[in-house]
Amino acid sequence: MSWPWPGFVTPMSAWLAALFIPLVILYFLKLKRPLQQIPSLALWRQVMNDQRVNSPFQRFKRNLLLLLQCLVLGCLVLAAMQPYWSSGAGRAKYLPILIDCSASMGALDQQGGLSRLDVAKAEVREIINNLLADQLVSLIVVNSSGRRLTDFTNNKKLLLSALDHITVSDVPSRLDDGLRLTQALARTYSFERAIFLTDGNTPGAVDLELPFQIAMQLIPPGGANLGITELNARRGAERWEIFVRIEAAAVGGGEAKVEFYQDQELLGAEEIALDPGEAQRLVFRAPADKSSYIDIRIIPKGFDSLASDNTAYLELPTLRNLRVFVDLELKAFRKALQPIKGVDVLPVSGSSKPDQVLGYDLVISPSADETVPTAPVALYVGQVPSDIGKLVSIETGFVKVVDWQRNSPLLRHVQLTEVQVSDNPVSQKDVQDRDYENHGYEILAHAAKGPLILHKNRDGKQSLWLLFHTDHSTLPYRVAFPILMSNLVQMAMQQAGLSEIQGQTTGALPARVADPRTSYSVVGPTGMRQDLTSSDEGLLMGISAPQVGRYDIQKGLSTVAKASASLLNASETSLKNVDTIQFREVSIQASDTKLNTDKPLWTEFAILGLVFLAVEWWFFQRRPGGW
């Protein structure tokens, strides 16, 4: 433990102490002592003699004014030297302060109490107020990303203003971005320590190597809390089954009523009682004959520290069959898909035109030209993507599948060992796997000299490329083929939201189909407005959703769509705190004791000097007998 010790910011100001010399000289020269003629000194001499004899401090009293003047000057000199109590941790010129403002920082310690962020802000405010003249602070907020609020500055007004504007974001905390931001600052500014104020509800490990130390200041966690941590819907026979997981915080649970709304209509409610750390899963059923909005609300019966996890939202589409366009030439695919329940294989044999009115969920085609319909998921057979046409060429010759990604959604449980392929994709000389990756392609299956299956996810659309034609392979005759088709249907259903729908978490909303190159406004639950323009492909992307609630997507003045975001984070709801963050090489221990920062003392000395000045003035001017 290091004890605080005094230091001076500008010790050179000690030269001002030389003013003591003229002060003393001037005092004893008594240049300004007024002359007062009196009838006789007889009595005054007796008084002075008596004073010298009787008062042990007569010299002190005689020069009390000099003493007071010296004290005033001493205080001013000390104030000019800008003394401070050092925290003992070494005085930093640059001090980055990271403030956790994730959802759990909104937790209250008691009914009507302070949020964790308010406590953290109070501590940061004290640090700012105690800033020394040569100390510069930069405020960085950390939630699911990192954001720098101020440059390194000692402008207290600016810092306090930025601090006041920090609000809780209903997002889980991730330290990486904030720490990377601080790491980048360390390249420009030299500092050895950064302060991180958090409730400890953070990841326990960060894959970073920091060139500075982190003083992790732990804010005490909030009180009892119940929250929704999972919300999803699965396709039932003719209705949606809604699964809700409710968890209690580690510090305290409680009783609550859980209400289930569909389009603002209460369809069901259940009472729950959870002990600390316990969880309970609830199931509700919702009609699927139309698209609807689902609200799950927790009505706590006692104190609940975190409000943002008491509500969760879900958007349910109408249940329908998966619309799959399969080129009429790909008979093996059509035969493999037709037995699958809930799948409409289009066009129906004999029809020459694809049905463009309804749109497709999955397209399987031997060509990728513009005549082929578009869909969120597309499988192109025997095609090389045009943008990587220079990387690979198709030669003739039998090849086998060398390796494939068994955990990819398309190839899960698919056995490709015995598959023979007569189209032999060969990568050009010096072309590596990363060259495909640089073009956005992921290789799902490898042949001996090149990729066999590629996957690309762009603008929310997934395209799968079989670089060989299935008619030139033994794949349709293998068990792997129907499994492959089943996986493809699952991918399409997932993409179309027809099999399982997850509650959308806060952070950023997924891209939405919109009119191309059109301006939209997104109005959040707190009235926050974002103006966005859809892409050329007709996708509205980058919708920020930092708060739990509904978001209205407006085109002009009319609402064209609604979206929602929920916290749905078990870690944030649990309010658990970690006492150690493991970095690559070191671990940072959290401390719940108040941070020691250098405390400036010049104001105290200035005030003391003023007091001495007032005493001196009073002493000099007071009336006789005015004790």
Binding site: P34, L35, Q36, P39, W44, R45, M48, K61, P624
Partner: protein
């Protein structure tokens, strides 16, 4: 006393004050008077008209003092005794040094001297006035005078006293005693602010048969000094200086010394069968004469 209407007999005192003073006289504590003559009655037999006692006739007594009525009734001669009237010498010592020039101290001293002198003259006492200025120098003197005819002389002498000088009181007393002869009352009109010891001077006065009436006249600056901060005090007589820091702080001590000095002087005068009083230079002379002194029995 008659004066033309609208004119003052002296600039020192109003005519009304003078009129009232003519009916008063100094009332000394002891009978330190001249035997030859005078209007102060002694306890002994005398030749005044005021009856005192009877005693048996002894051969040699003046027969004119025999009370024949008693002799007729008792057939024994008794002699009537009358109170003896003696002359008292009133010595006025006016301190006219520089220290008396502050805030009308000297003016008050001259007014009180005029009042005492007038009372003495109006009661057939011998009045002499000494005004002391410089140490070692002979004091100004108004020789012993008596009778109402000396009033103008008295007032002119007092009006002519100019202040200034460094004479301490004890030196002034010595100078007076070198020239004075006679018993009576000495009225010391001074501020009694001296660096020396007054006791030898008071002893000398007592031995000379003078009853000491000390009147200390102090200015407001001396009674309630209004001094603050660091100042340099300048003695008006000696020109010496004294630096004082935090004068206001010393005021309490100063007041203690002032009170102590009053007690010392009162005790010193009383020990020598005298009186002492302190007055402020701001106090009107009428108040001192007709109120303070009358109540204290200085006048009757």
């Amino acid at each position: 006393m008659t004066t033309p209407a609208g004119t003052r007999f002296t600039a020192l005192l109003d005519n009304s004050v003078l009129s009232r003073l003519e009916r008063l006289r100094l009332d000394p504590l002891r009978r330190l008077t001249v035997h030859s003559r005078g209007e102060h009655l002694t306890g002994k037999g005398g030749n005044s008209t005021e009856f005192s006692d009877y005693r048996d006739y002894v051969p040699g007594d003046d027969v004119k003092n025999v009370d024949w009525n008693i002799f007729a009734r008792l057939n024994r001669p008794y002699v009537k005794l009358f109170r003896h009237e003696e002359e008292m010498h009133v010595v006025l010592l006016v301190d006219a040094s520089s220290s008396m020039l502050f805030e009308g101290k000297l003016e008050l001293a001259k007014q009180l001297a005029a009042a005492c002198g007038l009372m003495g003259l109006m009661n057939n006492e011998r009045v002499s006035v000494y005004a002391c200025h410089h140490a070692g120098a002979q004091p100004e003197l108004m020789p012993p005078s008596s009778g109402q005819v000396s009033r103008r002389r008295l007032f002119q002498f007092l009006e002519g006293i100019q202040g200034g000088g460094d004479s301490p009181l004890e030196a002034a007393v010595d100078a007076v005693l070198r020239r004075h002869r006679g018993r009576g009352v000495v009225i010391l009109l001074s501020d009694f602010l001296t660096f020396g010891d007054l006791n030898p001077a008071l002893n000398s006065l007592f031995r000379s048969g003078l009853e000491i009436h000390g009147v200390q006249i102090l200015s407001e600056l001396e009674l309630r000094p209004d001094l603050t901060g660091d100042i340099r005090l300048l003695d008006s007589e000696t020109g010496e200086t004294l630096d004082i820091s935090g004068a206001a702080e010393l005021y309490g001590l100063y007041a203690e010394h002032l009170n102590w000095q009053e007690q010392e002087l009162t005790a010193a005068c009383q020990k020598r069968s005298g009186r002492f009083i302190r007055v402020s230079s701001k106090t009107p002379v009428e108040t001192i004469l007709f109120d303070t002194w009358r109540r204290k029995g200085w006048l009757r």
